[in-house]
Each structure stands twice: as structure tokens, then as C-alpha cells.
């Protein structure tokens, strides 16, 4: 590292509830054993009955807010901060759908009793952040970032910059996406949801499988007391104006290069990549070509974990960072579930077998509608 290397930002604690179950261990188990199974959701569209796979995280009837609070509390406990530092921690929430599940349930109940009922009362996209802030008795600032599927990744990135610049000592970064009909039906309308399974980078890929989760990571300027010590070295977020929903290879490559530059890490040192890997035609093609453009013939091994956890939309930044580092702590880069046939247009293949990982910086990609490309670089100190 250069003399001007930025201050270290550590992952100091974390927890998640996802289709894999609860916690880091469950995430690593699921990603390495490919053990999750999606549920099926049904709805009507233009007179047809539609059935789509969906990776549920919550038991039927579970209160999503209570689960989110438990996850945030466990992540804070895991970080072992002093009471004073815990109080003044900065809160960053990233979510694609925000609190739409609340509005949807409230409206469905109200509409069942009164056909004149209004959708959405007291709109507030920071409701989850405000509620968590109150429940956790925090004094620090709170932020709600909304950049579609890169929301929580941007929340991680901006939180890490706040720590790096000395504006905060610690940050609690939360990614949350709770099941709602609007997202399920919206992706179906856009013809981006597969009725089968997600197969990122495969020639026959035909869409995403959504999932829900509540995930939290505590970032700190101080290394965790327990092993291992993951650091966020840096990252980048850039706007891609090619198309509102289809990223371009060039802008993805620019984002990856910026992330490496921000982290002061040469491309050749990257040991593995967690791709965004949604399983849509457009995303995977642009991402594959963008990675090739950035890394040239020495493209590091890459994988997508969305076929195991589902695409948790705006929350995937936190969930997949937690899951990927948990896998690496087991010494393995997980295989990309469902990948069988190479796509010659992409010209690169994700891992078809679990690969041993022996250390070195890793790159994590996250992209969102509205041309929001984000990339993070992490490394394990010990």
C-alpha cells in the first residue's frame, strides 16, 4: 500500500436472515452445499395464473420488523462495541422496495373492508431507518440509500467512506427486502423473472428468482477482536446512462477500474470476484464483457450466489458481502449453481466447481436499475 493509503475499515460484526436460514454459518453452508429451495408464489396476470419461484426467508406470519431488529441487534452484539460507541454508530439502510410491504399489507387489509380505501398513508421511505434508530436507541446519524438493486452496496460504500474520512467510528449497514407482490409482479411484467431457476452466465439463462432477507453488517475503524478481520479497501459507484435497466460493459469496466483505483489494488492481485450475476440475458452479458474488459485475459475466478439466496434486490449488497466472506473464511469460492453451458457471447465462465481460496483481495459487483453500478474491494487481514 502507498503512504497515502486510506484508513482501514473493518467488517466487525454481522448477521442475516435469508433463504439460507440465520447467520453467517448458515449462509456459508447454503452457498457451498447449494442447499436452498425456493417456494412458489402465485398471482393472476391478464387472466392467466402465474407461478414463480421465490426464496422466502421469513416463516409465514413472522413480523418482518421484529426479524430485522433481531438481525441488527445480533450484528451489533457480534461487533462487541462499547455502549458509548454503539449509541453513536451511524445507521445506513439500503433497500429497493423500502417499506412497500407495509403499505401493501395495510392497503390489502383496508381494501378488503372498504373498496374506497387509499393506498399508502403517510409515505416515508426512511420509515425502517427511523424505526430501527429508535428501537436500537441510537444517537448517530441515519441514512436511507435508494439506488435499486445496488442500494445496500452503496450504503456499505458510503458508510466505509464516512469511516475512512473520520466522520464516524462505526457504522451499522442494513440491507432489507421483504416479500411483496409489487416486486414479484413487476419483474414478471418486465419479463425478467424466470419460471424455472436462475442460471447466471449460462447460455440458456432466462431471468431472476427473487428472494427476501434482512441482513446487517457493522463496519468499524477498529479490527474485530475475533478472527478473521475483513477490510473494505475501497470501491466505486458510477452512473451508466446507456439504458435504464440494461448496463453496458464499458461502464461496468469503468466502475471496476475505479473501485480498484480507490482501493489502491492492481487488477492482477484480485483473487476472486463475486459477480452481480442475476441470470438475466442483459446483465450477465454486460457484466461478463465488463469484467473481461477490466481484467483482460487474466480474469480471476468468479461466481454468482443469487441462485442460492435469490436476488434480494436492494438488500443484496449486505447479504452477499456477508455470504461471500463467510464462504472465503471456509477456504472456498462457491460454484455458480445452475451454470451448465457457456455463452460464447460472454466469452467467460463462472466457477463450475468450488475453488480453494488462499487469500488476497476480492471484488464484489452490484448493479441496479437506473444505471447504478457499484463495486467493492475487500481483503482479509488475518
Amino acid at each position: 500500500m502507498s503512504a497515502n493509503a486510506p484508513a482501514a475499515v473493518y467488517l466487525r460484526g454481522g448477521d442475516a436472515v435469508s433463504a439460507a436460514g440465520r447467520g453467517r454459518v448458515a449462509l456459508a453452508d447454503a452457498c457451498l452445499a447449494l442447499s436452498t429451495t425456493p417456494a412458489q408464489v402465485r398471482f393472476s396476470s391478464l387472466g392467466r395464473e402465474i407461478e414463480l419461484p421465490y426464496f422466502r426467508a421469513l416463516d409465514a406470519g413472522a413480523a418482518a420488523d421484529a426479524v430485522l431488529l433481531q438481525v441488527a441487534r445480533t450484528a451489533l452484539d457480534d461487533a462487541q462495541l462499547s455502549a458509548a460507541r454503539r449509541r453513536r454508530i451511524g445507521l445506513f439502510v439500503g433497500s429497493s422496495s423500502g417499506g412497500i410491504h407495509h403499505h401493501e399489507r395495510a392497503y390489502a387489509e383496508a381494501y378488503a373492508n372498504n373498496a374506497e380505501a387509499l393506498p399508502i398513508h403517510r409515505p416515508d421511505q426512511s420509515r425502517l431507518a427511523t424505526w430501527l434508530h429508535q428501537q436500537l436507541h441510537l444517537d448517530g446519524p441515519s441514512y436511507t440509500i435508494a439506488t435499486a438493486c445496488s442500494s445496500a452496496a452503496n450504503a456499505l460504500l458510503y458508510a466505509s467512506w464516512m469511516l475512512r474520512e473520520g466522520r464516524l467510528d462505526d457504522a451499522l449497514v442494513v440491507g432489507v427486502e421483504i416479500e411483496n407482490r409489487l416486486s414479484q409482479q413487476g419483474f414478471f411484467s418486465m419479463m425478467l423473472a424466470t419460471r424455472a431457476s436462475s442460471r447466471p452466465f449460462d447460455l440458456q439463462r432466462d431471468g431472476i428468482v427473487l428472494g427476501e432477507c434482512a441482513a446487517a453488517l457493522v463496519l468499524s475503524r477498529e479490527a474485530p477482536t475475533a478472527q478473521p478481520a475483513w477490510r473494505i479497501l475501497g470501491g466505486a459507484t458510477l452512473c451508466d446512462t446507456t439504458h435504464p435497466t440494461n448496463p453496458s460493459a464499458d461502464q461496468i469496466a469503468a466502475t471496476l477500474r475505479d473501485a480498484l483505483a480507490d482501493s489502491a489494488i492492481p487488477a492482477a492481485r484480485i483473487g476472486a470476484i463475486k459477480a452481480h450475476g442475476t441470470g438475466t440475458r442483459a446483465n450477465d452479458l454486460a457484466e461478463g464483457l465488463g469484467m473481461r474488459e477490466c481484467f483482460g485475459p487474466s480474469l480471476p475466478p468468479f461466481t454468482s450466489i443469487k441462485p442460492v439466496l435469490g436476488h434480494t434486490l436492494g438488500a443484496c449488497g449486505v447479504l452477499e458481502t456477508l455470504a461471500f466472506t463467510a464462504c472465503l473464511d471456509r477456504g472456498s469460492v462457491p460454484v455458480t449453481r445452475g451454470y451448465e453451458q457457456p455463452d460464447p457471447e460472454i466469452g467467460a465462465q463462472p466457477l463450475t466447481a468450488t475453488r480453494a481460496w488462499s487469500g488476497g483481495p476480492v471484488l464484489l459487483n452490484y448493479f441496479g436499475f437506473g444505471g447504478n453500478n457499484c463495486a467493492l474491494v475487500l481483503d482479509r487481514e488475518r
Binding site: 412497500i100 409515505p123 441515519s142 441514512y143 436511507t144 466522520r167 459507484t237 437506473g370 444505471g371
Partner: protein, 289 residues
């Protein structure tokens, strides 16, 4: 932390009290750009309209410009329509209806039109979202020397329904607006300088900051402060301006106040205290260059 003040190079303000029919912003956009904007919602129209006007005021923006868009309740009309479709009409949202409720879609269209490739972030918050966006923007200001910062409030029709939704009296006037700021670290003659945003944990700290503001400065209280906050802050500065309780309902008061100060006021500085919505207070300081 980059402690340099942000240099305000240009601003634009669009604000309109709502009546029964929306203003035809697409026609305005067509006039401005010669390009037909289709398949975008009201929020995006307002954002693009304001940002393009600000870009013109600035004489163009650089392609490395970052974009930060703050709002309290973005894309509300489309969210309402989509929820009504899914729940009441058993109809999935249309692709554009769904796509356009993505938090940062307005920023996409702005960046596309102005050919910007810097970071693009939407900051949604029920209180002090402009202050929050400024805080995040300052983090990146050393790297991206130019930024467009906007605050957009969307009109949602029918107005009677919107008043019910917001818990407002049936006679309340509603507004929509699009306020934009172009910040350029290399601007030689800025309209004003924005100091790093400061956050106080307690009302006492906010009172001290207000008491310490130079006597010639304009001092103001943000619209998220409670009646009790206003009384406490006025106890230390009697001249602190607060929103008139009978004024038109607007969440854009901080943005409007900032632009009003820059363009219409002669005071050497402005300090606004606003409640952060999470127990603290934001201090926004703007000075003449």
C-alpha cells in the same frame, strides 16, 4: 474529511401551487430540449426539468459530475397507481410503471441527458434529506469536483386524496417543486459557499450554534422542527425565521430558503437548524463568497 466549503456555481428553482390539473411539463421539456420525453412519471419529469434548467444556468456540466437527488416521498403517484393495480384490480404493474418507481430512475434520465458519468445517488428521507444528500456529496467532493444536487417534490393528484394521505386539512394548499444546485470546486465566482454539514445530537448544541451565528447572518428554523424546538431556538435568536403554520404545504422549504438567500437576500450568511428526524439536528451554513 474534505473540509473545504462547497462552491455553488448555479441554481434553479421551479415551484408551483397545485390546482386541479398538472402543468404540462412534457411540453416544457420538449421546448427546452427538442426531445420528446415519454414513459416517464411526474417525479422524473420534475427532476429532469429542474436539473436541465440548472445545467443551463451553469453553462453546461462536466461529464465527471456527480448527481445527488434528495426527496421525502419520491415516485409516490406511480407507487399509489401500482399498489392499486396489484391489490384492487388484480393487475400487475406495467413495465414502465414498475421501472419508474426505482429510487434512482430520475437520476438516470438526468445523467443521460446531461451526459454525466459520475456517481448517482438518491437519498430518500422523511426529514432533512437535502442536508443528508449534501453530507454524502461532501464525502466525494474531493474526487468529483462537480456535482448536481436536487430536491424534488412531486404533485400527486387527485389533490383531495393526497391531502387525506398526508393528514392535511381539506383546505390545505399543496405544491410541487424542483430545486437544483450546481456545485463546482473550480468555480471562480461562486454564488455562495456551503460549509460542511454539521450534525448536533442535542437541542442545546443547536441552540449554541444559533447563538454563535454572526448577528448580521440570516438564521432560520427548518420545517421539521417542532413547535417546542422553534420556541427553544427563538429563545436564543429571536430573529430566527420559522415556517408560517398557514403556509402552503411543502417539504422543499430548505431548498427554497437556500435559493432565496442566494438570489434575493443581502445578508452575508445563512444558518438553518433543522430536525434530523432521528433525534438530532442538522446545521446548514451558507456564506457569500
Amino acid at each position: 474529511m474534505n473540509a473545504e466549503p462547497l462552491r455553488l456555481a448555479a441554481v434553479s428553482a421551479h415551484e408551483r401551487i397545485l390546482d386541479d390539473a398538472p402543468q404540462d411539463l412534457r411540453a416544457e421539456l420538449l421546448d427546452m430540449t427538442g426531445q420528446a420525453f415519454r414513459r416517464i412519471n411526474r417525479f422524473i419529469e420534475l427532476a429532469v426539468y429542474g436539473a436541465l434548467r440548472c445545467g443551463r444556468e451553469a453553462g453546461g456540466v462536466g461529464d465527471d459530475t456527480a448527481l445527488y437527488l434528495a426527496s421525502e416521498a419520491p415516485m409516490l403517484a406511480d407507487c399509489v397507481r401500482a399498489l392499486r393495480g396489484v391489490i384492487a384490480e388484480a393487475r400487475p404493474p406495467t413495465p414502465f410503471e414498475f421501472m419508474n418507481i426505482s429510487g434512482n430512475m430520475a437520476g438516470f434520465y438526468i445523467a443521460q441527458h446531461l451526459r454525466m458519468r459520475g456517481p448517482q445517488l438518491a437519498v430518500h428521507r422523511n426529514s432533512a434529506s437535502l442536508e443528508c444528500a449534501l453530507e454524502l456529496l461532501q464525502l466525494q467532493s474531493a474526487r468529483h469536483r462537480r456535482a448536481l444536487l436536487g430536491y424534488v417534490e412531486e404533485g400527486v393528484w387527485p389533490l383531495a386524496e393526497q391531502r387525506l394521505r398526508l393528514g392535511l386539512p381539506a383546505t390545505a394548499e399543496l405544491s410541487e417543486s424542483s430545486h437544483w444546485f450546481y456545485l463546482d470546486a473550480d468555480c471562480a465566482a461562486p454564488l455562495g459557499l456551503i460549509d460542511p454539514i454539521e450534525r448536533c445530537s442535542t437541542l442545546e448544541q443547536a441552540q449554541r450554534a444559533l447563538a454563535d451565528a454572526p448577528a448580521q447572518w440570516r438564521v432560520a428554523i427548518g420545517h421539521r422542527c417542532s413547535r417546542a424546538d422553534i420556541d427553544a431556538l427563538r429563545a436564543v435568536r429571536r430573529d430566527a425565521q420559522a415556517l408560517d403554520a398557514d403556509a402552503t404545504y411543502s417539504t422543499a422549504t430548505t431548498a427554497a430558503r437556500l435559493i432565496g438567500f442566494l438570489l434575493l437576500d443581502s445578508a452575508p450568511g445563512l444558518l438553518q437548524v433543522n430536525h434530523s428526524g432521528d433525534g438530532g439536528y442538522y446545521l446548514l451554513r451558507v456564506r457569500r463568497a
